[in-house]
């Protein structure tokens, strides 16, 4: 079975590498045998569906009648004659530009605090990461309760604040207002994800060499200057990386909006993925839903391309071991 067993047993690593790279007729069928289970799953559940999805985006089909070929009509309709599509894109962009910066700020703040020689750091990490492992549905239920205008704790705090200061402050009706429903989803998402951002930042902060801080100290920099001039630039690759993956994640926001507000009120928290879900599984428009999914893909492709283009900048992070 092995063709090289009779060759000399003593070799340098270089020789062994070259021999490994040589043609291996005995591994022709073996390679595909190892690959087979994965390849079958890949073909059926990834590769084939991608092709079908693209084809679907050119048809009109409700799964019951025959599909009708409509060419680019689904795309054209979305771009020119569907105000709801532009509304869901707008909502999604709102979530991206609020959730991502807030998450980066809070995550960095907590990570910097935890990176100090501080008592109980491990316990804090356990606590902050707790929502990351939990089901978002349970989080949504509690936040609906907390934000309820009539008996929610957060609303109560705002009432109390108004009473104490004598100012005419009233709690917003988070879940029934088309304006405040979005912040409600943002709050839930931040609570759920900030621990993740914190842990990644923590790893980056621990990669900043102590010598740089010492040198800055010698030059008379104070803590704030050290943070701005040493920490921020040195962890910028991580910031950029987190920014990219969180923009992609926020563009795919669905579960938070579904469980918290069911996309409402009046479509104010309807997101792009939610609109895909509605079209495919509630309105039976498989073609249109697929077309929206391809818009999503193009967006993610652009961001991933941006990421790989600039990957060299954070390569230390991936090779460090």
């Amino acid at each position: 079975m092995t063709t090289h067993a009779e060759s000399t047993p003593i070799q340098t690593p270089r020789q062994s590498r070259r021999r490994f790279l040589r043609w291996r007729p005995d591994q022709q069928w073996e390679g595909y045998l190892f690959l087979l289970p994965s390849l079958l799953g890949f073909l059926f559940f990834v590769a084939l569906p991608v092709v079908i999805s693209l084809l679907l985006s050119f048809v009109e089909w409700n799964l019951l009648t025959q599909p009708i070929w409509v060419g680019l009509a689904n795309y054209r309709q979305l771009l020119t004659r569907d105000p709801v599509f532009w509304r869901v894109v707008g909502n999604t962009v709102f979530f991206m530009v609020t959730i991502v910066p807030l998450q980066l700020c809070f995550g960095l703040l907590l990570a910097v605090a935890l990176n100090q020689a501080i008592r109980g750091a491990l316990i804090y990490r356990v606590v902050y990461f707790m929502p990351v492992v939990t089901t978002i549905v349970a989080g949504a239920i509690v936040f609906q309760f907390l934000l309820n205008r009539d008996f929610g704790l957060i609303s109560q705090w705002i009432w109390d604040l108004g009473r104490l200061t004598g100012l005419p402050i009233q709690p917003p009706d988070f879940l029934n207002s088309t304006f405040w429903s979005k912040p409600a989803v943002v709050i839930l998402t931040l609570w759920k994800n900030v621990g993740f951002t914190m842990v990644i930042y923590l790893a980056a902060l621990q990669g900043v060499p102590q010598e740089l801080y010492d040198a800055a100290n010698v030059d008379g920099a104070n803590a704030w200057q050290r943070f701005l001039r040493v920490t921020i630039p040195l962890i910028s690759p991580t910031t950029f990386f987190l920014f990219i993956i969180q923009m992609i994640g926020a563009f795919q926001l669905f579960t938070e909006a579904y469980t918290m507000t069911r996309g409402g009120p009046a479509q104010s928290t309807l997101t792009v993925v939610y609109y895909i879900y509605q079209n495919a599984f509630q309105f039976g428009r498989m073609g249109k839903a697929s077309a929206i999914a391809w818009f999503l893909f193009v967006f993610i492709f652009l961001f991933t391309w941006l990421q790989t283009r600039l990957q060299r900048r954070w390569v230390y992070y991936e090779t460090e071991s």
């Binding site: 073996e30 799953g41 100090q116 356990v126 089901t135 704790l153 999503l296």
Partner: protein, 287 residues
């Protein structure tokens, strides 16, 4: 694999902080923790309160009762949800680790025609969002009459390109001399996979297993579209439909939330370090 140091380890300490800074940081971290923990505590507290006092806010510790939990288990088959989630998460994770490690071994260790081209095709699909393949998968599953079955919940998410990719990277780092030595001793590829590469890959296998288990346990969109009967719901989707039915019965909803969170939180507290590593570093690339 990137290593993740403990927070606040002595080696990383930025010198001793003055007392005022210590106090300031502790205050910040305690307030933050309180905000993060508050939803969990409220959930537990309300779940132990009788229904009547919730709207009047006349909470009192002596009213504590387990009635909500008794009522909950009568109204909703949470045991069944647990079982479904458990079966799906364990099966998905096991199949994924097995198929991905076999494929990664082929990509990293065997020479055969078309290998690099195939690997490129795998890589190219990494950035395709789940939502693109979701609709064809839904149609495929219905065509196979798998709608509302375990196969439908498990198989479409059991073949992970990302896991394959991560394992291949790891296997590439294992010295080739080990394979050569094993082959000289007469071992075939199967034995090298099972007795050389896999035993040396403990950390990456554990990391991926935890990440995939957790992702499968908490998955929402796919189980939502592919199941329709209460008997086939997993915990998140079961809890969500319960939320839709009992949307004002806060005492029951909170009890349901506590029940839904309990197992994963217990596992998390026990293996928190592994969890943080697994989710943080697989999540970075895995989305």
């Amino acid at each position: 694999m990137t290593t993740l140091a403990e927070p606040g380890t002595p080696g990383q300490a930025r010198g001793q902080l003055p007392l005022a800074a210590q106090l300031g940081l502790q205050t910040l971290l305690i307030v933050g923790s309180a905000l993060v923990l508050l939803p969990f505590l409220i959930m537990l507290f309300v779940s132990l309160m009788p229904k009547e006092v919730i709207l009047t806010r006349a909470f009192a510790l002596q009213l504590t009762t387990l009635d909500n939990y008794v009522q909950l288990f009568k109204a909703v088959p949470f045991g069944r949800f647990y079982w479904n989630s458990f079966v799906v998460a364990v099966a998905t994770t096991t199949i994924q680790i097995l198929t991905a490690s076999l494929a990664a071994f082929a990509f990293a260790r065997l020479r055969f025609r078309g290998r690099d081209g195939l690997f490129l095709v795998y890589l190219a699909t990494l950035m395709i969002p789940f939502q693109v393949t979701m609709i064809p998968n839904f149609i495929l599953v219905r065509y196979l009459s798998w709608y509302n079955t375990y196969q439908a919940l498990i198989l479409p998410s059991a073949f992970s390109v990302f896991s394959t990719f991560l394992m291949r990277q790891y296997f590439m780092g294992v010295p080739l001399d080990l394979d050569e030595a094993a082959r000289m001793d007469g071992a075939g590829s199967w034995r090298i996979w099972a007795q050389v590469i896999m035993p040396l890959s403990g950390p990456v296998l554990a990391t991926l297993a935890i990440f995939n288990f957790q992702a499968s346990w908490n998955d929402f969109l796919w189980p939502l579209v592919i199941t329709n009967s209460i008997e086939m719901r997993t915990i998140p989707v079961g809890l969500s439909s319960f939320q839709g039915q009992y949307n004002t019965e806060w005492n029951l909803l909170m009890a349901g939330s506590v029940i839904a969170l309990l197992p994963i939180l217990i596992i998390y507290i026990i293996g928190q370090n592994w969890f943080v590593r697994g989710i943080a570093f697989s999540g970075l690339g895995g989305r």
